[in-house]
Subunit: 540 residues, 2 copies
């Protein structure tokens, strides 16, 4: 089952089918040696292949030897970057891809891949730099649709979709055991491929204009070398970085999900090293960028792989296949491969996710939608970069407007609550503010503004007390803001007090002279502060 | 006193002296009409003039009419940007300049300005694109130093420094009143300027090679128009934005400091509009970029200005001066102006600030040092942009590694504390974790890692309880992480519980189905959680 998948993704990446086989041998072995997951299988995957096609397509004409060389240079650079990131322990960088951004990116990639395969399914020539151009070009080409190709493709898609959804319940309804039914269902794609290959051979569909895979050279992966060309490296640097990050995120999330099922752990920084090595080995053996894929890893997991040797055995299997089985692939119709890709990637498209995100958080929705639309309309790189940019900007924007609540005493208790939400006791002499965010440069001025506003409003004010229970950090800018707040309040004959300051924050404040200058006091609890400053409230 | 200052900053900006006078008239009136501070005085200031010189110097040769036109086009663009930002209420963007970045930038600017004035003080020609080039060029030119110029400059610097530090105590020691002593001290620069002008005239120093200001045209500010040239606008866009932001930050911090002394407030968004209008008026009246300056505003404040009319009166005074007094400036030595600039800007250089920041926070220090060094070595624009980038990156890095403490019960109380810092009670069946940071995409994986690690370590574990008292927000990515943590824990037969979830966070969680799926419970307090899950701890 891995073999047609490898061929399909090589085709998606714009490479000859054997490249997919080559990219599935050495990387598997290298990962088995260095990786921390016992079940992760490394090889070509859909999204990384799409990114490879988008990058290499800009730099070399499709179908040339240069195209293949650029692809393996891309794998080399990506591998080197992953390795360096692993050595520098930069695995945490992948955390800056938020879930809505990843989800929007994967959905858009799925749609782009499906659209790019439609031309194969229709048997026409079409192209375009984004989803709209591609769709437009496909619509123009519709009259030239090759009927047999379309019929075969639609048949395969229908069969696969039916196998995925309806076959298992049907078999089990017929009294088959769940295990056998499962096994048959999973064999669906293999049967579809074998059947369509047999039909294409028996009925000589090639003569009727159906495109087939054709001759796949027999032999082990060749020894290849990347191009040492600084202009090319410069052009590939950003795409290689993005491919590295996307591949790493995909691989780690697959690895973590599977590892957790057995109470095992994977080490993200070591994973970077292993994936880096895998990509370097792909570059040296005629391949293209690879990463850990979900579908291929689940096979390992279900087969109960408990040692890294599983990966090595799979590699031997694929190597044997590329030595001896490639003639059997000669009559495999390209439309069948395109159909398997379409079915695989459409399951990645998760638009309801956007609706769920909308209900939970408007800012997250905005980040996800931006990524989705920009990826579709401007391409994978711009989409990803802009998505990360937008999500970081929205996070910074949110933290720059902290929630600051004026609080009062809940009668008969020692608790303080927001005056706007609860019936609480306050003194006109004392202003109690609770800041629900760590203080840092982007939000310290908001606190200044809030206090200035409160002070300008009330003439009777003598004390301002900041309840610091949710403040996890105060940076140098925020400290200066506190100092200037304190100074301005002092100029207005108002004392500034703090309450419930956390241990680590207190430690750092004590390393400065802020607390010495402070016109007010630091109270352990806010109740103590009010007891001291406005006893008429606590003991009415 | 404002007149020599305006001349000096025009010279610093690379413009003829009268431009400084023109830039001090219309902007003052416009600010008085639209501004919210009653004492802020708008006009040329040191850092903005330096940024103007750096920008315009790249695009037009010094001393040409084009230079002046580019400078006023820069003021026009900057004014338009400020106005638009004000209308869109984008004043909060200035908050993303952290104090260490501003401080590093201002210190570096002060050093750059001082270095640029040294060539005037030495009476030589020198130049360079950064501090090192400038210093090197000055050292090369040292043999050509003009003795009289140097002597005069050194004399003025010495006098001003002495006036600033030693004169007031001396006068008061001689029995003068504090008020009179203060007045005399402040008149120091005026006396130095008048005296050196008189000496230059009486001893005909011009004939001995001393450079003087020369003819300053008499007359009111002219009506000028910016250049409508899209290529020029394109080149000026980024510098204009940076000048706008820096000018805005300087002006607002001066305005806030002075307003707070009288329990007044200023509205940052309205300030943007007023500064925008001021710069547009500067562009239309032969000026260059302006902003609210500290020195000139303090004059207003000390004079007790209570209405915006003070600004209008000052404008009339400067207009009268440019009508009638400019012949008196003919013999004013350029070295005297340079000396006043050097004394003024060196007081901006605050290197001990860096040391204080180092003691308080290493990350803030790094941001400040980067800004300082890059501004000195690469120029004002790169320095500022990189400084902001570094400070944001460091903030994101810090929040991406949240402090997660394993907590246990303080015996005999209901409080929970870090197991590493205190002697507390724990159950091997229950893991209590307190997360000291809001959960968002960049740190949610850290929580996953931490929990995976804990789970892989302890085989007896049945419950994980997250104490959420410091979590102010959970974004969509963090929610997905919680869901996958919950799922993985469930696969390992461990229940996930939450305690002390804040009201707004709880509201949002309840809008999802996370709480329905949750294998554990949500407890109001962490003590209740432990009471329920490990009663042997709470009642030993």
């Amino acid at each position: 089952m891995l073999i047609p998948q490898s061929l399909a993704y090589a085709m998606l990446a714009g490479l000859p089918p054997e490249a997919g086989l080559y990219a599935s041998v050495a990387p598997l072995v290298v990962y088995a040696l260095f990786g921390t997951s016992r079940v992760l299988a490394v090889g070509p995957v859909a999204v990384v292949s799409l990114m490879t096609a988008a990058t290499v397509g800009e730099l070399a004409p499709l179908g040339t030897a240069t195209y293949g060389t650029v692809a393996l240079t891309l794998a080399f650079l990506s591998g080197a970057m992953l390795l360096i990131m692993g050595v520098l322990r930069l695995g945490f960088l992948a955390n800056f891809l938020s879930h809505p951004v990843i989800s929007g990116f994967i959905s858009a990639s799925g749609l782009l891949i499906a659209a790019s395969q439609l031309k194969v399914l229709l048997g026409v020539q079409a192209g375009g730099h984004n989803f709209v151009e591609l769709a437009g070009s496909l619509v123009q080409q519709l009259p030239h649709t090759h009927g047999l190709t379309l019929a075969l493709g639609a048949g395969v898609i229908g069969t696969l979709a039916w196998t995925r959804t309806a076959l298992k319940p049907l078999l089990m309804g017929m009294g088959w055991s769940a295990r056998t039914a499962d096994w048959v269902t999973k064999a669906g794609p293999v049967v579809a491929i074998a059947a369509s290959t047999a039909l294409a051979w028996a009925l000589d569909w090639q003569a009727q204009g159906l495109k087939i895979v054709g001759k796949v050279p027999q032999g082990l992966p060749p020894l290849t070398l990347p191009v040492w060309d600084s202009a090319l490296w410069h052009a590939l640097a950003v795409p290689a970085l993005l491919i590295s990050v996307v591949g790493f995120v995909e691989s780690v999330s697959v690895g973590q999900t599977l590892a957790a099922k057995r109470r095992q752990r994977i080490d993200p920084d070591q994973e970077l090293v292993a994936l880096g090595g895998s990509n370097l080995s792909a570059a040296l053996s005629g391949g293209f960028p690879v990463t850990g894929g979900f579908a291929r890893s689940v096979v390992n997991f279900d087969a109960g792989a408990r040692t890294p040797a599983a990966g090595a055995f799979t590699a031997v299997g694929i190597a044997l296949a590329s030595l001896f089985l490639t003639p059997a692939l000669y009559y495999l119709p390209q439309a069948t491969l395109a159909a398997t890709i379409v079915v695989a990637v459409l399951s990645l498209v998760d638009l309801p996710m956007l609706a769920r995100t909308w209900r939970y958080s408007k800012t997250d929705f905005l980040a996800g939608l931006t990524t989705l639309l920009v990826t579709l309309l401007q391409g994978v790189e711009t989409g990803l970069v802009l998505g990360v940019g937008v999500s970081l900007a929205l996070f910074l924007f949110r933290t720059s407007r902290p929630h600051i609540a004026e609080v009062g005493l809940v009668p008969g208790t020692e608790y303080f609550r927001n005056v706007l939400r609860h019936k609480v006791l306050c003194s006109p002499k004392v202003l109690s503010l609770r800041v629900d965010e760590s203080l840092y440069f982007a939000n310290s001025r908001a606190l200044e503004d809030r206090i200035n506003q409160a002070v300008a409003r009330s003439e009777a004010l003598d004390h301002v007390v900041l309840q610091c229970s949710a403040i996890n950090d105060i940076d140098a800018s925020a400290l200066e803001s506190l100092e200037s707040i304190e100074k301005r309040l002092r100029d207005s004959h108002i004392a500034l007090h703090l309450s419930e300051v956390k241990g680590p924050v207190m430690d750092r404040l004590q390393s400065t002279d802020f607390l010495h200058h402070l016109s007010g006091q630091v109270f352990l609890t806010h109740f103590q502060a009010i007891q001291t400053l406005a006893p008429e409230i606590t003991h009415p």
